[in-house]
């Protein structure tokens, strides 16, 4: 009998791994005076603490940022704070009757404007009934960049929870969730693919993948003749996976120049959150700057993310705290501290974007950067007055300059229409549930 052999797992997730890229000529965008418009949607969950979120303003101009928003003060000139945006479709009356909870309804609706389906696996497991705005705009601008859209997670998935719809806000279509990738090095490989490999080695990998793909595809075709129509539909996405892989196999190797990042120790360790956020922010900004992609989402935790942000000495579960009543002063203060921490990360995203010069401005000026939430007030679990901050303006499409806009109960469907219009998709007159769409939110437009 042969002895059992023990293989050590690859060192990719342990310790600090530096992912270095060889020096290659970087794509210069400077010849192109019209820098492309970019969109970054940044998410955090569990609602906010209103008293510490609402800033002071006068005549629609911010005069004093709130405690939670204070880290954004250095970007005041490129900011707009939005109030009165409601995720109306997340309210029960628009949802199928069933056992959904507020978190997944809000998360599923924020970028889709759609209700959830009833899930087949367990009460409340259904997905949103339509495409999310990031994926929609990626489809509309397909071919412009190698990666149509980048969906990054910051500890946005946990194993074995079973509530998949709490894991994602992005959808490729009706009932087609797209899960953000929390492993930053996987994203790095995908975005800056092959740039660390020599050409011959890359060709070998591609040849093997192609041969394997041919066999696997034939196997699926054989299997499809043996299963029911219902089951064939169940496997339909397998064909999509083949097409995506084939596209990747034929894509030329792209490079974003000399760019390396030190990977934090564990992609699911809350102690590492700041390092994880830094990594994800840096690579997102690099991918935008060298035009590998124009649309990105960054999902901080998941819906109801029970994150305990140990990196700032917070051992309580964020979600647990959000259930405490207003009378629990210590819980309220901790929640403010948590939201302020997220604001700091959002500010550092803006820092990084504003540090990339583009023409007479910066990457930030040519981008729309939004910070959204799944809920309004955390402990009430409502979907009114979702805290929204927008920055960059997107070539001056949206207001900036420290604008403070009170919308007064407008649905996020209209906000999604505005985002489409910013990208020139003016044929879009509604987004998500029809009955909630009234057209763009011109109050936000510059």
């Amino acid at each position: 009998m042969s002895s059992r052999r023990r293989f050590l797992q690859g060192a990719t997730t342990a310790g600090a791994v530096s992912l270095a890229l060889p020096l290659l000529p970087s794509q210069s965008r400077s010849q192109d005076p019209a820098f492309p418009l970019r969109l970054v949607i940044f998410f955090s969950g569990n609602g906010t603490i209103v008293r510490d979120w609402v800033p002071e303003s006068n005549g629609g101009r911010l005069t004093r940022l709130s405690p939670i928003l204070s880290p954004l003060s250095r970007h005041l000139e490129k900011l707009m704070v939005v109030q009165g945006l409601d995720i109306k479709v997340a309210k029960r009356e628009y949802q199928p009757k069933g056992g959904f909870h507020a978190h997944e309804r809000g998360l599923g609706a924020i970028l889709t404007g759609q209700p959830l389906h009833l899930g087949p696996m367990e009460a409340g497991s259904g997905y949103a009934q339509g495409i999310s705005v990031d994926q929609f705009l990626a489809q509309r601008t397909a071919g412009a960049t190698g990666i149509p859209v980048l969906n990054l997670g910051l500890i946005s998935r946990r194993h074995g929870n079973g509530w998949y719809n709490r894991d994602t806000m992005t959808y490729a279509g009706d009932d087609l969730p797209v899960f953000a990738e929390s492993d930053g090095s996987k994203i790095f490989d995908e975005v800056f693919s092959g740039a660390t490999m020599d050409v011959a080695a890359l060709e070998r990998v591609r040849a093997r993948r192609q041969s394997v793909l041919d066999f696997v595809r034939a196997d699926l075709q054989r299997l499809e003749t043996r299963i029911s129509r219902e089951d064939q539909l169940r496997l339909a996405e397998h064909h999509t996976a083949f097409r995506t892989l084939e596209q990747q196999l034929s894509e030329p190797v792209a490079s974003c120049g000399d760019f390396s990042l030190a990977a934090p120790g564990g992609w699911n360790d809350e102690n590492n959150m700041t390092a994880i956020a830094d990594f994800q922010i840096q690579q997102t900004v690099q991918a935008l700057a060298c035009d590998r992609t124009r649309i990105a989402t960054m999902q901080f935790g998941k819906g109801l993310g029970g994150l305990s942000l140990r990196c700032i000495g917070m051992t309580d579960s964020w979600h647990g705290l959000s259930h405490e009543g207003n009378g629990n002063e210590s819980a309220q203060n901790k929640l403010t501290q948590l939201n302020t921490y997220i604001a700091e990360r959002f500010a550092s995203l803006l820092d990084a974007m504003d540090a990339v010069p583009e023409g007479s401005g910066t990457l930030l000026d040519h981008s729309i950067v939004c910070w959204v939430n799944e809920l309004g007030i955390g402990n009430v679990h409502d979907h009114d007055n979702v805290p929204v901050v927008m920055a960059g303006g997107g070539h001056g499409f949206f207001k900036t300059g420290g604008a403070h806009v009170e919308l007064g109960d407008r649905p996020n469907n209209d906000w999604l229409v505005s985002l489409c219009h910013a990208f020139g998709q003016t044929d879009v007159t509604e987004f998500g549930l029809s009955e909630l769409s009234n057209g763009p939110l011109t109050e936000l437009h510059a």
């Binding site: 009998m1 042969s2 002895s3 059992r4 052999r5 293989f7 690859g10 309210k91 029960r92 009757k97 069933g98 056992g99 507020a102 309804r105 009833l118 087949p120 696996m121 367990e122 009460a123 497991s125 194993h159 074995g160 929870n161 079973g162 998949y164 093997r208 041969s211 394997v212 066999f215 696997v216 196997d219 054989r222 299997l223 003749t225 299963i227 029911s228 129509r229 219902e230 089951d231 539909l233 169940r234 496997l235 339909a236 996405e237 397998h238 996976a241 995506t244 892989l245 102690n271 305990s308 140990r310 051992t315 647990g320 259930h323 009543g325 207003n326 629990n328 402990n379 009430v380 679990h381």
Partner: protein
Amino acid sequence: MRVQVGISSALALLLACQGTFSDDPYAAGEPLDPVQDPDLAPASCSPELEPAVRGVPTRILTGRELNNALRELFPNVELPNQEIQFDGRVESCVVYSRDDVLEAHIREYRGIAETLAPLLVEDLNAVMDCAGASDADCATRYIEDFASRAFRRPVSADEQAGLVALYRTGAEVSHAEGMRYVFEAVLQTPSFIYVHETPADTLAPHEVAQRMAAMFARSVPDSELLAAAEDGSLMNANARVEHAERLLATPAGQAAIGAFVGEWFGIDRLRDTPLALEDQALAAGMEEETRRFVDRLVSQGSARFTDLLAANYTYLNEAMAAHYGYSLDGAEAIGDGWYRVELEGSAGLLTHGSFLSQHHGPVHRGLAIRRGLLCGDVPGPDDIDITAVPTGETEAERSKTEKRLDHPTCGGCHRMMDPMGLALDTFDDHGVPRTEDQHGNPVRDDGEILSSDVDGVIQGAAELGNRLSQSEDVRACVARNLFAWSYARAATAADSCVIERIQNHLATNDDDFRAALVGIVASDQFVRSLQPRVGGEQ
């Protein structure tokens, strides 16, 4: 003995609580589970009228199945454990794959195949025996055997030719590269990663083997099962019972029963809790306590859910005894530094740290019992002003609970949870017995079970566990979970007769769920299948 019809009692428990008090909290409730269509339920269950069980939909292997399958396919190679991110849960408990496939699944499996293939060819002697044969001949021979084990059925000529062609392409570089092509392909190909059944009135023998391997080992069929499929003997009920009992006696079979209990009680979620991040050793100790408890129950020939809920002992080592503050004096040593410790006032798994540290406070503890043991659910507190009940920072949980129960909006749902959870209030968030809470408030353990067939006032964990272990509602819920485990999907109303039969097996076998599982395969129903026709013909 009177046995309630499983589905009707389970269905009743699935009705949502109402926001306001009434004599019957379910009176105007909405079913929470959309698949519970009472119209599908047969009027009565008898062997003649009993419908065939709807087939198992095509699904992707779960992480547990994949890792067990890898051990079965490569017994001499220790491969790193692979995690499947997209596993979900049926009935909130049993881990199963989502019922439709996402692109992300496929990417995940491709990644696993690409990770494992190079590891497998590092030392091919451990994988395949090529003594006395040329590399190419050996590969051809091995491929047929390997693929038929991986696919759980004989390999077609087409498939064999395709795999040999892959080998040859890679073998232009080297024998190992050729095998790498083969492993990379087989480990991500639909015939391996999908569990599927061809629509027909009766399962094919290989499909029976596959179902049984999933039920009794959470793996692919072993060589004995494959042989019994090959000679057709698995179509015979007695042969199935023999194989079921054989598998249950193997380490893989015992591990599968342990896995069922672990998934049912959510013990496998412990690693995702804040405790696991804070104190890994403690979390591992808790997990091991529960694993030893279940393993010993199973290996001593008893796997009764009544023991799981009511045992007045547990297994501890010195570190865990110190954690709980229990003495090991006079405890019976069972080896490896572990002891069987008799504990007055304990209630099987309900008083294990692995359970209590995942569910804090009476609300969550009560909810875990309502969901896991009574197959009921309680809607979340959304669209409800949860600040309606003012509570103080240092207020005792019991006092908060009393306020919630008295509140007209909150009470209707909280009575489904809190009163049961209060019986566990003398255990802290890490499962340690306590006489006062973290704020210095004294704690008590009186509680009440409501909305079940064992309603009544209770005192402490032991009475809670004892009372639940005598509940027909709990037995029906165990039957539902065993159904989900066996058929890899949630039950529908159309499955009520099968669930009733499982419930009967439990009742007549001292509530031993291994006997209930054997009972499932002993029935001719097990090989009958109700399936839609092959593509397009329906």
